[in-house]
Point group: C2
Chain length 296, copies 2
């Protein structure tokens, strides 16, 4: 029986710490970290994410600036807004909610954000710093949240084999880049495997730490892991509820009941990685504020 890694509890502790730090910073500077979130269009899921981010800011005492533009907004107007936010001294972090409407060039918008305010860490300069191991950049929120959970569950990672399933730009690739660094809280041998592999279980069975970000339920079953593995399940899949098909249920990428019997520790879905993402966004915004005020 695995230890259940309580992401909800850990995220809540981190948010409390950030709240105290924000209060102390307000005392010192008469200002608080500010996060601007830009939403283009009226996708309901995106609107929920944006609202949650705004609420999370308020709860820790950050300033939150929400900008909603209609779906048909011309690209140049979004560019102007990003430029304005780049220039504003009360805005420490800028987040443009993705996906953008089809007529907009997402990578051009991401490139436009000042890397020092890019709290999503999608700008190439921040992605590069992850791979280089330069801590002056930001780490993307979801894999950073996974890393915090791994570091709490496994104090000494040196030479452990960490296997990442999935190679997205949002999770798999930056996760791998973070964990292979020659640093005390990383230093893993890292394998990235994916659907091109003839048999991913050949790799997943080797994992001391297994991070699953495949975007498909039941990607990892019991026979695919070794005993004692630490499992981080990044999946968020909404499926028909097994007991009542008129309802839905949120599940991860890991077949929890099977894998939990073999793992030494595992994140649940929901309540594992999910709550960490917004906590890391707040942490990045705090870091941005410090960089802007203190140059470090």
């Amino acid at each position: 029986m695995a230890m259940i890694i309580d992401g909800k509890q850990i995220a809540s502790e981190i948010r409390e710490e950030i709240k105290s730090e924000a209060a102390a910073l307000k005392e010192r500077y008469g200002a608080v970290p500010g996060l601007a979130v830009v939403l283009v269009g009226d996708d309901p899921a995106s609107a929920v994410y944006v609202r949650n981010k705004g609420r999370a800011c308020e709860e820790v005492g950050f300033a939150s600036f929400q900008h909603t533009l209609p779906a048909g907004t011309p690209m140049r107007e979004l560019v102007s807004l990003v430029d304005e936010l780049n220039a504003r001294s009360d805005v420490d972090g800028i987040l443009v909610q993705l996906p953008l409407p089809g007529h907009m060039d997402e990578s051009a918008i991401i490139d436009r954000i000042d890397p020092g305010k890019d709290v999503d860490a999608f700008h190439p300069a921040n992605v590069g710093k992850i791979l280089i191991g330069d801590e002056k950049g930001f780490l993307p929120c979801t894999p950073q949240g996974c890393k915090v959970l791994i570091n709490r569950a496994v104090p000494d990672l040196k030479g452990r084999h960490l296997v990442v399933v999935g190679r997205s730009n949002i999770v798999g690739k930056p996760m791998a880049a973070m964990m292979l660094q020659k640093k005390k809280d990383a230093d893993c041998v890292v394998t990235v495997c994916h659907t091109a592999a003839p048999d991913i279980s050949y790799y997943t069975r080797q994992a001391d730490i297994l991070v699953v970000a495949a975007g498909r339920p039941n990607t990892i079953t019991g026979p695919m892991v070794k005993e004692g593995v630490v499992v981080i399940d990044v999946g968020m899949n909404r499926i028909a509820h097994p007991d009542d098909p008129s309802k839905t249920k949120l599940v991860g990428d890991v077949k929890f009941d099977e894998v939990e019997k073999l793992a030494s520790a595992i994140t649940p879905v929901p309540g594992g990685v999910g709550p960490m993402t917004i906590a890391m966004l707040l942490s990045n915004t705090l870091k941005a504020f410090r960089m802007h005020r203190e140059g470090s």
Copy 2:
């Protein structure tokens, strides 16, 4: 008996192609690609590298601009020179030879180079593009050269297990980032292993393709590989000559005579990866010229 991958021959073919393209571009634009190489101080090895790069430019019909500054040059003078080269329209590529003298901040200098002229691909924005898989950036010369050799030796890489030994910013990390991309000429399962692993042979024996960039002779011996592996040896180690200790000999990181019996293909040292590096520098400079003139 392995096929010997003749990097010298392949590099020479690539240089011939670049020479023809440079001639065609000169016809079309009345201008040729230009590479500026900056050397600070009088390290003899660096001076040789810089001279070779200048000569390689001349051989393919590129313009070559060499800037040599004394070791005691203040940082701000080097910054001014980089700014000047960034602004010059006849300079397509800028390369600052590393290492810089101790009083200089290498990463600040690298950050200062226009990413569109950063033909060494050490700027964080270019490193980020490697991991993202954005082909508008540059690929660093040595791992790019390895990739060309791998692509010639193994036409279909999909799902093959590529193991990289070593995690330097110059070779191991970008090599891994390139080869895990979902692209026809990559698409490998990638493992990065290094000295923190209790036993690297556990990983190296799994490799279909093994890239060794450990910087130590005899890192890989016969029992550490599986039959049929393709081996790319990035090592360049100068050791005492076994037959005449008064002389030296250049060897790689792989125990060639043992591994060659098991591999299906292997690069020799010298004459394998080495000659590819400058060929890729020329290729990047050509790409930079095209980007500046043609915007693609």
